[in-house]
Amino acid sequence: MAKDTLSSLVLAGIGLFFLIYSRQYDWGNLASPGEAVFPLLLAVAVLVMAGWLFGHSILGRKTAEEEGVPTGENSLRVLILTVLIVGALLLMDVLGFFTSSFILVLLCCRLLGVRQWSLATGIAAGAALGAYLIFGFWLKVSFPAGLLI
């Protein structure tokens, strides 16, 4: 499928989601427009434009740029990185903000190609400690605290 075809469908989906969701809100009237008006109008606009793009990508002349969806690049690593971040966020309430971000940075270093564990550990420890000192200790931002920090 061409890039634009797929992306226009996704965007239409977003428009549809807001369109359906905003039906539960109040329309109001012209003298006192309710909270549904603005999102509803925009959702329609997004749907129309996404439809246009869809039609264009199906019917329009195929140019060189409209090749298929690029795959094959290292999508696996993107997926792993996403899982790593999700894991770190879930761990935050348990281990605390800085401990889980230490683990995240450590694994992220390895993922992006830092070969030595020692170096990766050093970077992660430095980053987590630095962030803690600036934001947690000095600026007194209240981070989720777990068993550790």
Partner: protein
């Protein structure tokens, strides 16, 4: 290529998942203990903890952004009370959803007095607007500290000399007067609606954000504004804007010439109260200790001056009175919100 790395990552991921699983189990059992402690500990344990309270910094959640009127008052209270308690009180802004975001956060904290909230009428309005599924009973009051009236102001060259003339005009020309407030369902909006109720006048209510109602008033796009005095104080002093009346019980110290509605024969008193609350279930001795610290704040000269400059009156209510007061306010605001079609629960 990259095989060694994928293995390492897989290992790391596995370790992460195991830790997550373990920690969830640990959390499940660990999470119960404090809960049981809070409910079943009885007074003996509570007393013991309270004598030592506070042994670590206290965190005060503020529902509005850094630099807002609510925030500045809260920071001053935190500074003074923190000195008295012997532990610092750190102020954390958790804004959003008309206060619901912050209320939900504090509700989820342990009821041990270390998570306190800078409470206000938002507890009533956020609940009735349907933004949260719990109401004021979720929290125990510590103390009410300040109140701020709502001011009804017009441009300096407006034809109405006093509030009675203004109301008379609004009665004869329903909807002709556009009155700016600081947001739909906000306290200033409700105050203007209450004025309609008491006098039979009819306004067109225009919701604004901070600052913009005042500039629209000066620019002549609206005829009047319903605002907290702090928002409009400097224009009043510069003579660009006149406050016709304030909704307080007494006149404001900083604006001694401005009458109250009561003095003008309109039975309207409504004030935005602010005070400290904690999650319900906090041990009595802890509440007492915080209450005493807050009482001292209201007696502090530095705080008195600060509050006056911010356009607030000092009005102290202890824990018991405060809870009763909030319950009574809740009914009053609920009926006002019902009238503007904003009461969802």
């Amino acid at each position: 290529m990259g095989n060694w790395r994928l293995k390492g990552i897989a290992l790391g991921l596995a370790a992460l998942l195991v830790m997550l699983a373990l920690s969830l189990v640990g959390c499940g059992s660990g999470g119960k203990q404090p809960g049981e402690g809070a409910q079943g500990s009885g007074d003996s344990q509570g007393n013991k903890a309270a004598v030592e309270f506070p042994t670590k910094p206290v965190e005060m959640t503020v529902l509005f952004g850094a630099g807002s009127g609510a925030d500045l008052l809260a920071r001053k209270v935190a500074e003074i009370a923190g000195k008295d308690l012997g532990q610092p009180i750190s102020v954390v802004n958790r804004t959003g959803a008309g206060g619901a975001t912050g209320y939900t956060y504090v509700k989820g904290q342990k009821a041990d007095g270390y998570a306190i909230i800078w409470n206000s009428n938002s507890i009533n309005t956020a609940y009735h607007a349907g933004n949260m599924n719990f109401d004021y009973k979720t929290f125990s009051g510590i103390a009410e500290l300040t109140t701020e009236p709502v001011s009804i102001a017009v441009k300096a060259d407006a034809p109405w000399k006093d509030i009675n003339e203004f109301v008379e005009y609004a009665k004869k020309n329903p909807g002709k007067i556009r009155i700016g407030n600081s947001g739909k369902g906000s306290f200033t909006h409700l105050a203007a609606v209450a004025l309609e109720n008491k006098t039979g006048a009819k306004f067109t209510h225009v919701p604004f954000g901070q600052g913009l109602a005042v500039s629209s008033l000066l620019g002549g796009q609206i005829e009047a504004s319903s605002q907290l005095p702090a928002e409009i104080m400097s224009q009043v002093k510069a003579g660009q804007v006149r406050i016709l009346a304030v909704t307080g019980e007494q006149r404001l110290k900083t604006l001694p010439d401005v009458p109250t509605f009561k003095e003008k024969g309109i039975d309207l008193t409504l004030s935005l109260w602010r005070g400290i609350a904690v999650p319900a279930g906090t041990p009595e001795p802890v509440i007492n200790k915080l209450e005493a610290a807050m009482k001292k704040v209201t007696e502090n000269d530095e705080f008195k001056k600060f509050a006056a400059d911010m356009g607030a009156n000092i009005e102290y209510r202890g824990a018991k009175d405060f809870d009763k007061f909030i319950a009574q306010q809740d009914q009053e605001l609920a009926s006002l919100m019902e009238q503007i079609g904003m009461k969802k629960q």
